[in-house]
Amino acid sequence: MAIVFNSNIPIYLQVKEDIEMTIITGLKKSGEKLDSVRDLALYYGVNPNTIQRALSELERSGLIFTQRAVGKYVTLDEELVKELKKRVSVEKVKEFISRMVELGNNQEEIIRLINQEMGEL
């Protein structure tokens, strides 16, 4: 079983995000063929129609394309993937910042902490 789902929000969204991650992180490369709907459904343990929906969304955003009678592939448009990576990264950073601010950190402290931890990585 792949990821643990949060059943309170639509599952197709979570599947979509997970596939996006595999593309952003390079796990699935440009032009690489995706598993079939059936295999994805088994992998994630969800209804095949949910997978379909996730894939439709990904196709709408241009991240994947369909080759008739053959299957679905990751886009060859590397710029698009970079865009997505930037977008997701910015989202994560925003999340992080709001959490840190909640804890009572100001900008200087946040940056200092980041440098400190990144130094140790």
Binding site: M1, S7, N8, G45, P48, N49
Partner: protein, 234 residues
Amino acid sequence: MSDNLIQIENLSKSYGRSKVALSNVNLTLSSGKIIGLLGPNGSGKTTLIKVLNGLLKDYIGKLSIDGNPVGAYTKSIISYLPDESYFADWMKVNDAIGIFKDLYTDFDEVEALKILQRLNISPELKIKKMSKGMKERFQLALVMSRKAKIYILDEPIGGVDPAAREVILDIILNHYSEDSLVLISTHLISDIEKIFEEVIFLKNGAVEFHRNAEELREETGKSMDELFREVFRC
């Protein structure tokens, strides 16, 4: 594919004068879907399932399964997993496989043996030596090895430990096809809700609603499990 495989019109069934099991149920179930029939014990789930399988008659309303009334044909296209073990105690796994092979033309023996192996059930095992959970898994293996148009599973994961549940869900998903309909009745929702495309909430014998699960999640921000608890809170 979405033809109306099961059509239920104004179905009502009561036991005696006091107990109403089903009250004016109207449902249309299409193929290519995995549908959850959800409700607490006594909500009419089992009654509805028995009616579909021809185990209960004397009801009001109209039933159409693949365009036919309940009979030998509809029984041949439905693969039914009841909540009870329905084999005689003295039988071995092999005997049961023999019965299915002989009486159901859509039964795939190779598939059945594969699934049984996956579930660690030996063909020589005697049914009376099986634990309750094992009996259920064994029957599930046989039921899912038929290439039926309709699968009706009554509590397929009840009495099964969490590890086995994943295997069972995997088996069910494996046998999904666009040409078949899977109707699963359960009250253990959290483990299984991610495989449902649609859910039917049955309360006191009546249909509360029949909706697409993802749409419900989007609309309410709740899981089917949470919704269930809300709807059926006494």
